[in-house]
C-alpha cells in the first residue's frame, strides 16, 4: 500500500517535470505551470506555480511557489513557500538546482529565508537536498540529506543555538527537557536515518554557557558545559541509546548538592534500552576527578523514569571530595555536618522497591576531625555489611580518636549490622586516656525511625584522674577512676543512665545517680545528676590535690548538679566529715591557709598566728562546707553556726585548737574556681 502511494507521488512529480522540460525545450521562452494540489505519502502541496525562464546566458532559471505545503509527521504547515533557483540544471535523467534561495513561513525559524540546493533523479526517484544558513534559535543550522528508495538520511549541523530558544521553537513538535529560567548555547552534529520514520541517530552535542536557575532555587547552573556523544538505534519500537559525557566544566547546584565541574570534572558512559511500554534497563559508569568512580545498573520505570532498582558499585570514593560534594549537603544540621576528612572507601549499594536493601562498604585509612572540636577519629578501617532483612558481620577499627578532649586509643569492634539495628557482636575494649573502657553492650536500634535509640553497658578500668581532669579542663588531680556504666540509653538527644554509676576513687566511692546528658554533641551539652561521695580518704585526696595535707574521711553530696559543657552551673553541695568516722583527723597548716583563703575577704581564720608557726598540723573534730550554686553565686555555709553570724568550716579539737570560721555567705563561683585552680597549679608546679 505504502509502496503504491509512493509510486503514485513520484509519477505525479515526474509529470510536472516533463511538462517543464517540453515547454522550455520547444520554445526557449518563459512558461508558467500551475497545479492546484500535489500530494504524496505524508505531504500535500497546494497553489503551486512554477515559472521557468531562459536567461541571455542560456541558463534556465526557475521560480517555484506554493501557497501551502503540509507535512503529516511532524505536523508542519508551510505557507508562502518560494524557491528561487537562478540556475536550474536539467538533463534527461536529472533535475537539479545547486543554489537556491528559499523563503517560507510556518517554520519556527528566526528568518524565513535560507539557502538550499537539491537534485532529483528522474529515473530512480532519488533526491538529495541541502539547506544552508538556516537561522534557528539565534544560531545557524545546516541540514543535508537524501531520500532513496530504501529510506532517507540527514545530517544536521547546528552552531550557537540558544537552548531556551530552541526549546521554544521545538515545543510544537517535541518537548525538550529544558527547565525555564536557563540560558545556554548548543553546538550539535547529528546524523539521522531511517527507512521511513527515524531509526537511528548518532552525533555529538556540546552544551556550553548554560547559566540560570529555577524559581525555587533548587536547580541552578553557572557557565555549565558538557560534551555528549550519543548513539541511538531503533529496533522495532525499542531504542538502544548509548551516551558518553565528557569535557564538563562550570558549576551546578542540584539541591542540595553543589558541584564545581571545573574542579571535579565528570566523565561517564550510559547505555539504556528505552521501550515505549516497559521499564528501561540501564548501565552506567561514572568518574569524577577528586571524588572517585562508580559503576552500576538500574531499572527505570518507563512512565516517569524513577529508579525501581539500582545497584551501585563505588569503586573508589575519595575523601574529602566525596564527603564535601555529595555527603555533607545531606548531613547539614546533624553531628556529622562539619568534618575534615581524608581517606578512601569502596561501597556497594543495592536499592529495590523503594528501600535500601544492602549496603556494603570498605573503609580505608579514614581520618575525620570535627571542625567544632567535639570528636575525631583517626585511621578508621573496616568492612561494613548491612542488609535490610539480614544481619551482616561488620568490623571497625581505629588507631585513635577524641571525644571532646578525651583521647581514645586503638580499638577493634565486631558488629552485627542489619535491619534497623547495629549491635556489638562481642565485648570491645577501648582505651580511654590511660585507662580502659570495656563495652559489653552497644545496641543502636530504630535506625529506620526518625529517632534512634542506643543502649550501652560498659565498665571503666583505671582511667587516670590527672589525665581526665586535664582533658575536661578541670583542676588536675591524681587518682584513678574505675567502675561501671550500667544500662545507658540514648534517645532523642538525651543520654539517660538508668542505674547508678559507681566508681572507686580515693579509697571511697563515688555514686552518680539520675544522670542525664542532654544534647551530648550539640550546641550546649548539659548534664544533670546527683553525685554522692562516700568515705573518701582525705589523705589520698589532698596528697594528689596539692591543697595541703588533711587526714580523715569525707562524705559529700552534690544534689541537682547541672553541668554546662564540663563546668558546673548549679548544685546543692555539701562536703562533710564522714559521720562516725574514727580515723585520725588531722589538717595541715597549708590546708588551713588555703581553706581560709577560699573563704574570700569575709572569711577569717580565727587562730593564733604565734602558736601556729610551731605546728605543721592540727587535730580537728569535723570539717564541713556547703555551697548552693545558682547564677554563679555560691551561698556558703559550714558544719555548724559560729558566733558572730559565722559558720565553722573546720571545727578544731584538742590543743592547740584551731577553728576556721567563714563569714562570707555569698561568694562568686568563678572566683572560687579560679582560686582553687591557682592553689592547685601552684601545687602541681611545685611537685615534681
Amino acid at each position: 500500500m505504502d509502496r503504491q502511494r509512493q509510486t503514485r507521488c513520484r509519477s505525479c512529480l515526474l509529470g510536472v517535470a516533463a511538462l517543464v522540460y517540453a515547454g522550455t525545450a520547444g520554445a526557449l521562452e518563459l512558461g508558467d505551470f500551475f497545479a492546484d494540489t500535489l500530494a504524496g505519502d505524508g505531504w500535500r502541496a497546494a497553489g503551486i506555480t512554477m515559472q521557468v525562464s531562459l536567461g541571455n546566458d542560456g541558463v534556465f532559471a526557475a521560480e517555484i511557489r506554493a501557497s501551502s505545503i503540509s507535512l503529516q509527521a511532524p505536523s508542519i504547515e508551510l505557507r508562502d513557500v518560494r524557491a528561487s533557483c537562478p540556475r536550474l540544471l536539467a538533463s534527461a535523467t536529472a533535475l537539479s538546482c545547486p543554489s537556491a534561495r528559499v523563503n517560507l513561513r510556518g517554520l519556527p525559524l528566526d528568518s524565513p529565508r535560507f539557502e538550499a540546493s537539491w537534485s532529483y533523479n528522474l529515473v530512480s526517484g532519488d533526491m538529495q537536498f541541502a539547506a544552508n544558513r538556516v537561522a534557528l534559535a539565534k544560531g545557524m543550522l545546516r541540514v543535508t540529506g537524501s531520500v532513496r528508495a530504501g529510506g532517507w538520511q540527514a545530517r544536521i549541523g547546528a552552531r550557537g543555538l540558544s537552548i531556551p530558544e530552541l526549546a521554544r521553537a521545538a515545543a510544537p513538535f517535541v518537548e525538550l527537557p529544558v527547565p525555564a529560567g536557563f540560558e545556554g548555547k548548543l553546538d550539535a552534529d547529528f546524523a539521522l536515518a531511517g527507512p521511513d520514520s527515524l531509526a537511528s541517530a548518532a552525533g555529538q552535542a556540546h552544551v556550553y554557557a548554560l547559566t540560570g536557575g529555577n524559581e525555587e532555587g533548587t536547580l541552578a547552573s553557572d557557565q555549565l558545559q558538557a560534551k555528549l556523544t550519543i548513539k541511538a538505534a531503533r529496533n522495532a519500537s525499542k531504542w538502544q541509546i548509548d551516551a558518553a559525557l565528557e569535557d564538563t566544566a562550570g558549576q551546578v547546584y542540584f539541591h542540595p548538592v553543589f558541584v564545581d565541574f571545573s574542579a571535579h570534572a565528570l566523565a561517564g558512559e550510559i547505555s539504556l534500552l528505552a521501550t515505549p511500554d516497559g521499564d528501561w534497563p540501564l548501565t552506567f559508569r561514572l568518574q569524577q576527578s577528586g571524588i572517585g568512580s562508580a559503576a552500576g545498573t538500574a531499572m527505570l520505570a518507563g512512565q516517569n523514569l524513577r529508579p525501581l532498582e539500582l545497584e551501585l558499585q563505588i569503586n573508589e570514593g575519595l575523601l574529602p571530595g566525596a564527603y564535601e560534594v555529595y555527603l555533607q549537603p545531606f548531613l547539614v544540621g546533624t553531628t556529622a555536618d562539619s568534618l575534615e576528612t581524608v581517606g578512601r572507601l569502596e561501597a556497594r549499594i543495592r536499592y529495590r522497591d523503594g528501600a535500601l536493601r544492602q549496603f556494603q562498604a570498605s573503609l580505608q585509612d579514614i581520618h575525620m576531625d570535627d571542625t567544632r572540636g567535639r570528636f575525631a577519629m583517626y585511621g578508621l578501617e573496616g568492612n561494613i555489611d548491612w542488609g535490610y532483612d539480614s544481619a551482616g558481620d561488620s568490623q571497625l577499627s581505629w588507631q585513635g580518636g577524641y571525644i571532646y578532649n578525651v583521647g581514645l586509643g586503638l580499638a577493634r569492634l565486631a558488629l552485627k549490622t542489619g535491619g534497623g539495628e547495629i549491635a556489638l557482636a562481642e565485648k570491645a575494649r577501648i582505651p580511654v586516656l590511660d585507662g580502659m573502657l570495656t563495652v559489653s553492650e552497644f545496641r543502636l536500634t530504630h535506625l529506620n525511625a526518625a529517632i534512634n535509640q542506643l543502649e550501652f553497658d560498659a565498665d571503666i578500668d583505671s582511667i587516670g584522674l590527672r589525665a581526665l581532669t586535664r582533658a575536661l579542663g578541670w583542676s588536675p588531680f591524681a587518682g584513678s577512676l574505675s567502675g561501671s556504666i550500667p544500662r545507658m540509653r540514648f534517645a532523642d538527644d538525651v543520654i539517660t543512665v538508668d542505674g547508678a554509676l559507681t566508681a572507686q576513687v580515693f579509697d571511697g566511692t563515688v555514686t552518680i545517680e539520675n544522670l542525664q546528658v542532654l544534647d551530648p554533641l550539640g550546641v550546649l551539652p548539659q548534664a544533670q545528676a546527683d553525685v554522692r561521695l562516700r568515705n573518701l580518704d582525705l589523705a589520698a585526696v589532698t596528697s594528689t590535690f596539692s591543697f595541703g595535707n588533711m587526714e580523715g574521711r569525707l562524705d559529700g553530696d552534690f544534689k541537682k548538679l547541672r553541668m554546662l559543657g564540663f563546668s558546673p552551673v548549679e548544685f546543692d553541695a555539701r562536703l562533710y566529715t564522714t559521720p562516725g568516722d574514727r580515723s585520725r583527723h588531722r589538717i595541715s597548716q597549708k590546708a588551713i591557709e588555703n581553706i581560709s583563703d577560699l573563704g574570700g575577704a569575709g572569711a577569717a581564720a580565727v587562730l593564733s598566728r604565734g602558736m601556729l608557726r610551731f605546728f605543721d598540723a592540727f587535730s580537728y573534730d569535723q570539717i564541713g562546707w556547703s555551697c548552693r550554686l545558682r547564677d554563679e553565686v555560691c551561698r556558703m555555709d559550714g558544719v555548724a553556726a559560729a558566733p558572730g553570724n559565722g559558720y565553722y568550716i573546720v571545727k578544731g579539737k584538742g590543743l592547740p585548737r584551731i577553728n576556721v570560721i567563714g563569714f562570707s555567705r555569698r561568694v562568686s563561683w568563678p572566683l572560687l574556681v579560679e582560686k582553687l585552680r591557682n592553689i592547685n597549679a601552684e601545687g602541681v608546679s611545685r611537685s615534681p
Binding site: 536557575g213 524559581e215 525555587e216 532555587g217 533548587t218 541552578a220 547552573s221 553557572d222 558549576q251 551546578v252 547546584y253 539541591h255 542540595p256 553543589f258 564545581d260 555533607q328 549537603p329 547539614v332 544540621g333 555536618d337 562539619s338 544534647d519 550539640g522 550546641v523 550546649l524 548539659q526 547541672r562 554546662l564 559543657g565 563546668s567 552551673v569 547564677d631 554563679e632
Partner: protein, 202 residues
C-alpha cells in the same frame, strides 16, 4: 464608675496573681531580656528609626511594666525577695552567654543574607532559607549550614533561658517572646514570617 472598673481589673489581676504565682511568666522582663540579647547579637542598627507606633508601644510597655511591678510587689510580699527575684528573666547564665556569643559571632556571616532576603525570621523565632536564588551557587550550602547552626543555637538559647531561670516550662513563652522581638528588631528590608507563615518585608 471608671475607678471601680480599674479596681476590678487590678483586683482581678491580684487575685489571678495569687493563684498562679508559680507559673507567672514575666512577659515584660522576658521582652527586655530578649531585646537585650537580640540587640547584642544583631549589633547596632545603622540608623535609629522611630516608628509611628512608638508611642503606643511605649504605652503598652508601661502598662505591662505596671502589671509586672504590681505582680512583683505581690510576689515580694508572699515569698522571700530572693525567690521573688526569679520572676525576673535572668540572661546572665554561662549557658546563655555562651550561646549569645556564638550567635553574635555568626551574625556577621548571616547579615548579608538577611539583607538580600535569602534568609528571614520565622514565626517560631528561628531563621529559614527564604530565597536560595539570592545566594551564589557556591554559597548555597554555606547558607544552609549557617541557618542550621543558627537554629541549633536559637533552640538551645530558648531552652537554656527557661532552664536557667528555673522554669523549663517557660520555653514556649520565651520562644514566642523572641519571635515577636526578632521581628521588631529586624532591620528595614529584612524578611519575616507573619503568623500565617507568609513572608513579609519589613
Amino acid at each position: 464608675m471608671k475607678v471601680s472598673g480599674y479596681a476590678a481589673v487590678a483586683g482581678g489581676f491580684l487575685l489571678a496573681a495569687c493563684v498562679t504565682i508559680n507559673v507567672y511568666f514575666p512577659a515584660a522582663a522576658a521582652e527586655q531580656a530578649a531585646d537585650k540579647i537580640i540587640t547584642d547579637v544583631l549589633g547596632a542598627e545603622p540608623q535609629a528609626k522611630r516608628s509611628q507606633s512608638g508611642d503606643t508601644a511605649a504605652l503598652r510597655q508601661s502598662v505591662t511594666g505596671f502589671a509586672y511591678a504590681a505582680g512583683k510587689g505581690l510576689l515580694d510580699l508572699l515569698v522571700p525577695p530572693a525567690h521573688a527575684q526569679q520572676a525576673d528573666i535572668d540572661i546572665s547564665s554561662p549557658g546563655v552567654r555562651r550561646i549569645q556569643a556564638s550567635m553574635k559571632a555568626r551574625n556577621a556571616s548571616l547579615e548579608p543574607f538577611y539583607d538580600n532576603g535569602a534568609v528571614g525570621f520565622t514565626s517560631d523565632a528561628m531563621v529559614a532559607v527564604r530565597d536560595l536564588n539570592a545566594v551564589a551557587l557556591r554559597d548555597r550550602n554555606t547558607v544552609r549550614q549557617l541557618v542550621a547552626d543558627e537554629n541549633r543555637d536559637r533552640d538551645a538559647l530558648y531552652r537554656e533561658i527557661a532552664v536557667a531561670n528555673g522554669h523549663p516550662e517557660w520555653e514556649d513563652e520565651i520562644r514566642a517572646t523572641f519571635a515577636r522581638r526578632w521581628v521588631a528588631k529586624a532591620r528595614s528590608g529584612w524578611f519575616y514570617q507573619d503568623d500565617g507563615g507568609n513572608w513579609r518585608q519589613k
